[in-house]
Symmetry: C3
Subunit: 319 residues, 3 copies
Amino acid sequence: MRNLQLNSHGELQHLLTIEGLPRTMLTAILDNAAPFTEVAEREVKKLPLLRGKSVFNLFFENSTRTRTTFEIAAKRLSADVINLNINTSSASKGETLLDTIDNLAAMQADMFVVRHQSSGAPFLIAEHLAATGLDHIHVVNAGDGSHAHPTQALLDMYTIRHYKRDFTQLTVAVIGDILHSRVARSQIHALTTLGVPEVRVIAPKTLLPASVERLGVRVFHDMHEGLRGVDVVMMLRLQNERMNGALLPSPQEFFKSYGLTPEKLAQAKPDAIVMHPGPMNRGVEIDSAVADGTHSVILPQVTFGIAVRMAVMSMLAGA
Amino acid sequence: MRNLQLNSHGELQHLLTIEGLPRTMLTAILDNAAPFTEVAEREVKKLPLLRGKSVFNLFFENSTRTRTTFEIAAKRLSADVINLNINTSSASKGETLLDTIDNLAAMQADMFVVRHQSSGAPFLIAEHLAATGLDHIHVVNAGDGSHAHPTQALLDMYTIRHYKRDFTQLTVAVIGDILHSRVARSQIHALTTLGVPEVRVIAPKTLLPASVERLGVRVFHDMHEGLRGVDVVMMLRLQNERMNGALLPSPQEFFKSYGLTPEKLAQAKPDAIVMHPGPMNRGVEIDSAVADGTHSVILPQVTFGIAVRMAVMSMLAGA
Amino acid sequence: MRNLQLNSHGELQHLLTIEGLPRTMLTAILDNAAPFTEVAEREVKKLPLLRGKSVFNLFFENSTRTRTTFEIAAKRLSADVINLNINTSSASKGETLLDTIDNLAAMQADMFVVRHQSSGAPFLIAEHLAATGLDHIHVVNAGDGSHAHPTQALLDMYTIRHYKRDFTQLTVAVIGDILHSRVARSQIHALTTLGVPEVRVIAPKTLLPASVERLGVRVFHDMHEGLRGVDVVMMLRLQNERMNGALLPSPQEFFKSYGLTPEKLAQAKPDAIVMHPGPMNRGVEIDSAVADGTHSVILPQVTFGIAVRMAVMSMLAGA
């Protein structure tokens, strides 16, 4: 893993997962992102760092929101951006994933931003590029199955550092469907790597992976207990398609137990921040009074997300 | 309304509807559009006025044609353009309209071009931006429900002024489904604001709003009478989905009574111009002999439409 | 045909079909493509040749692959690219093809890249542009029905010339569903025009056009015979939707008789090259051992395809 993500000089070669990236690399990405937040304030929000580079947004799973953030980030770096929404059902009839990659590589692609419903697809692509000597093409994982979503975790870390400065004094809680969430997995790895001393997960047993404690987290099943004294509250999105399944009784019942309300939030520190990766299901995982309240840093997360993606892309491109 | 569209200096803040815009502002937009028609004749059809700006085409209702005109206009002004086709049925399951707007605003959007099936959606967005202190983001209504389509009306006014010079001597007829047409509503407001002394509407009673005369128009139900002596004939598009409904017997019967044929057009002035917002239903609202005939200025409307949209966008951006 | 594709100075006006283009023109396109292969190797893969030009990708038939190649080629020439995926079923309800073209022309289009399921559609567009005095707009056929796919044939010729240098000493075999293939038709015209002395087609009788010999080819129904001593093997893609029809028993049986395996390929010259327009159906028309083997030049075809399309576009634009 580490070898695939870092080149022989220890520079970022691909961004596939937080797991295995050293703390110095995570810190370097956050440091590099800072000046890009200023670009967004300028009259002309554009830098020439990726001029003449071809960035392919390969979305095998539909996600307008995530695709948009990468498209903006790449365009503000002056890249040529090609969006490919690849319907997997039709793709499976014809060309294989690696034939598609080979073809786009032959069109002199410089970067693939990959979203895929199968865990591991971006790894498979990166391995294939290494095996075929195409080391000049970089892969960014924009979410794969229930595995990882590293740019989301990085923008979350940027947000936490922006508001809390020092990771090593914090108590952080991640709340909701940990079991199916690639976001949660990446967040936990990022938090522990950056030295957060106490990472909690709060979820019903049915929405927790088997041996979640091995990730270095404390497990809570009750919101009041789990939120007590935390500095950072990280809500997860509840997938609509799971809400009426066997694991969850109903959105209303979930909200009653695990939805973030002002009353439950009162257990956290007075200056706690509340985060959510979006899009929010108001009234399911979060109450509007919290989402729009003074503790919420949900919209700054989005802003920082553009800067973090610009940083990752420019680091990958060696720019 | 006026306050929302104009800032405290009387400059264009949003373009939401023609209603409430002063004649000086309409004239200023038409005046500003003129030089942009020359850009289109150049070898390099590009100006740097919106360089580094992020323009979002937010289409909650599909319209390839209108989206294309805004996309070209923005690209010729060197903006970064992001197209978002948002399926409302799936949007309604998840994020609210205003959460979507907040998120795109947090990505440092500069302009939203909004098409929506619900009347008032662009107003709601502009009000929300004002309420949240995001006054630097501009909204262009690209058609909302049966309410307004201001850029269409403005390009129509540009076309009329191009061929007829003086609005204050004209008789203009708007023909077809006035009841459901956002285009008609915007055209009537623009024509009366610009001083056209006689604006007529020609339609069956079932396709007219209740108190249409209050808009300052004369009502006709017969094409021969209504077209007599007019300088400008403005046809409306008949929506396919309404054609077999209770309000209309059939496309053939509609064409017989209200379709524009050379014979009916003979009632108008010899130098009358014929307009249509497109796409045309040939043989339903307009005969091909008229659409392709010497009175038709339907294609120049399209050309002027790009210039008018470039003018609106550059005025909004303060460029 | 010739008059439509070449202007009065003998320069390329449209690229609609290989048929009727003189050998000098085909050679000129290949010669012009060569420097564009070097652009792709640069740090900044961008030239200003089409800056400020509006290129419309008009895809009436879905083809992500082909659209992508034209989009990249146009963007690397700095054009403004507008993608229009036009669903024909809905288009047929409303506007006619030529009304769509007139409208886009009125938006000051400079080039139409047209993919259409009906043979002849790009011709119809080019004729219409000529008839309406819009000679400054150029049409590139990106595949029409079972008629022609000229840029595919040109990139194939570039590939052959790259590896074999001299067309006049070659034996070339085209293999598969010749009957329905626009690619095959364009390849055969290109090969004979460029002076290839022996062009063979290998196919079952049911997949050959009635009088295919008139195109100047030798017909084979057996792979071992047809491949004997050839320099170039050009496989065709078998359309999935035809595979279970009356003309073909099954993919397995087709592969047994006409699929390219190492064993069959052994009949060709030792330095033979193997080509495929993609996307490949591995195990149907080609064995993976051949597709990924040392004779395969399938990925270089893709790379050369970008350069050839850049050459065609810049020649059309007079750049």
